[in-house]
């Protein structure tokens, strides 16, 4: 079986984009909730019933083709920091991390597939892909679901669909979501409008930590809210349509900023780069905001293209549990700030200062694989 240290040694391909266009949409994620027939749901089951359900499900999960050599661990066998690292990597939920005996996590080698056993539902499985690829993520997870259904008696009702602990997940049991980086919509004050429009469509949108409509790091998550009354393809198609529209707005806003306010943009790049490269103390708020600027800059050609990848890796690495795991000890907030700044300096030491970027009407950096400005 795979060890925890092996699992988290490298960032997953989906976290850093790989070869996929992730300039605006970082990741796509599908989650399915499934339960066993007639066996009490985890929240209502006794510890013995939970263990029994787990013993029934775990061997079947580990037999899945993609789960060969997977990381499989009872949550009672993980430390608090290890569980928190999995949460920071979006591999298990915060709620799941709070559980111990009778719950488990099975995570595929590449971290694109993870299955939580005895979370709120008997099974919560998720599939993640870089960029906007909800359909691809769904197809992969649907195969896993089919394979599990062959062996496990899932609770299904012809009127209500898959039966879940909470009725908010009934029907498809599916939550589809994407994480978006929207710095230009924020800088140009269009974000409120865009978020309202999304919410009016019945979709859920939230900023990950922030004040008002401005989210720290300008990262936003868009997901479906209803799971009953629409089919999986309908839900996914609507989401993909809305998300690609938002992504297009963001892409246009980036180009317009470069055109209309080049001095402001150049100033921001220089300042954020300077701070990240030279600060010795940095809280996560400051880190996220400067990383957001540099990530935008990398997409627009201020920094080498690989810098996007570096920013996405750092977004993960500077989170509290990741910092503590790499140090092998518990850190006070002050120690974390010091450590965070140190990691930034280390990773940015070989990144060159931002270059001058001139807006070019005929050149669309975001739809192009090579965003560096033509001479």
């Amino acid at each position: 079986m795979m060890r925890f240290s092996t699992l988290i040694r490298h960032p997953a391909e989906w976290m850093i984009g790989g070869t996929v266009d992730n300039a605006v949409v970082l990741t796509s994620r599908i989650r399915l909730a499934r339960n066993l027939r007639k066996i009490p749901f985890p929240g209502w089951a006794t510890a013995a019933q939970r263990r029994e359900a787990m013993d029934l499900m775990l061997p079947v999960i580990q037999e899945l083709r993609p789960m060969k050599d997977a990381f499989a661990q009872s949550l009672s066998g993980l430390t608090a920091v290890q569980k928190q690292v999995l949460v920071e990597r979006h591999l298990i939920s915060r709620e799941h991390a709070a559980r111990t005996e009778g719950s488990a996590a099975v995570i595929e080698r590449r971290q694109t597939l993870s299955i939580m056993v005895n979370e709120e539902d008997h099974l919560r499985m998720q599939s993640i892909r870089p960029g906007l690829h909800l359909r691809v993520a769904y197809d992969a997870l649907n195969e896993v679901d089919d394979a599990l259904q062959e062996q496990l008696p899932f609770a299904f009702d012809r009127k209500l669909g898959f039966l879940t602990t909470c009725p908010t997940n009934l029907g498809t049991g599916m939550r589809a979501s994407a994480m978006l980086h929207l710095p230009a919509l924020v800088l140009s004050n269009q974000i409120g409008q865009v978020l309202n429009a999304i919410a009016r469509l019945g979709l859920a949108v939230r900023g990950l930590y922030g004040e008002g409509t401005e989210s720290l790091g300008n990262l936003y998550q868009i997901s479906n809210q209803s799971t009953l009354g629409e089919s999986e393809p309908q839900i996914i198609e609507q989401l993909e349509r809305v998300i690609s529209q938002v992504a297009m707005h963001e892409a246009n806003a980036r180009l317009k900023l470069l055109e209309d306010e080049p001095i402001m943009l150049h100033d921001k790049m220089g300042r954020s780069f300077g701070v990240l490269k030279h600060a010795w103390l940095m809280d996560s708020k400051e880190a996220l905001n400067h990383l957001s600027v540099v990530r935008l800059g990398a997409c627009l050609g201020f920094f080498p293209k690989e810098t996007v990848r570096l920013c996405d890796t750092l977004l993960m690495e500077i989170q509290p549990a990741h910092l503590q795991l790499h140090c092998g000890q518990k850190l006070s907030p002050e120690q974390r700030d010091e450590r965070r700044a140190q990691i930034m300096r280390l990773h940015l030491q070989n990144v060159t200062s931002p270059v001058t970027v001139i807006s070019d009407h005929n050149h669309h950096p975001l739809s192009d694989s090579n965003p560096s400005p033509e001479p």
């Binding site: 994620r29 989650r31 339960n35 066993l36 027939r37 007639k38 066996i39 009490p40 749901f41 929240g43 209502w44 949460v87 939920s93 915060r94 979370e119 709120e120 998720q126 649907n142 679901d145 089919d146 259904q149 062959e150 609770a155 299904f156 009702d157 012809r158 209500l160 669909g161 898959f162 039966l163 909470c166 009725p167 908010t168 009934l170 029907g171 498809t172 599916m174 939550r175 978020l195 919410a199 469509l201 019945g202 859920a204 949108v205 939230r206 930590y209 922030g210 004040e211 008002g212 409509t213 998550q221 997901s223 809210q225 209803s226 799971t227 009953l228 009354g229 629409e230 089919s231 309908q234």
Partner: protein
């Protein structure tokens, strides 16, 4: 801005469409963690707002106060989950609870879901399985009747038929 649940500074902001209206909730870091809000895929604002304002605390306020008296004794025979439990935690005890509390559930569904009927994926072989399940149940009661009336010839035939069906679908063992 202050947290909607306590007086601390709000750092997590959620906007979702609930019953056709935009609802906004502001939470501090610890309340957000408490309520599982930090995992957006596992969270629905409809769930949190089901009783109206979030300030009245999420858990605890009963949802079916008007119907409570008549469903006081109602319990899921399979797992023992009661109507009281349902209005307290707003979750179910097991898959069979959905049959027991169907009417209560149909009351709360419109607030959280677009439709009332599943139109998505149906597990492979589900229809087929369902028909077989019905047939097995019918055969079982016929078998019981045959034994009762001491019609052993018919009972033997029914038993064979049952055994055959059950080997086709090993998942459908008697409950």
């Amino acid at each position: 801005m202050k947290c909607d649940f306590c007086d601390k500074k709000a750092t997590v902001f959620l906007t979702q469409l609930v019953e056709g209206q935009m609802k906004k909730v502001c939470l501090c870091e610890s309340c957000a963690q408490d309520k599982g809000v930090t995992d957006p895929t596992g969270f629905s604002l409809a769930d949190m707002l089901i009783t109206g304002t979030p300030t009245s605390a999420i858990l605890g306020a009963p949802i079916f106060s008007s119907k409570k008296r008549q469903s006081d004794e109602k319990k899921c025979p399979h797992c023992g989950f009661s109507a009281d439990d349902l209005s307290r935690v707003r979750r179910f005890g097991c898959s069979e609870c959905y049959d027991v509390f169907r009417s209560e559930m149909e009351m709360i569904l419109p607030g959280m879901q677009i439709g009332m009927t599943h139109v998505g994926k149906v597990p492979r072989g589900h229809e087929e399985k369902h028909l077989h399940e019905e047939k097995i149940e019918r055969l079982r009661s016929q078998l019981d009747a045959a034994i009762q009336s001491e019609n052993y010839e018919a009972a033997a035939r029914l038993r064979d038929e049952l055994r055959q069906l059950e080997t086709l679908f090993p998942g459908l063992s008697p409950s």
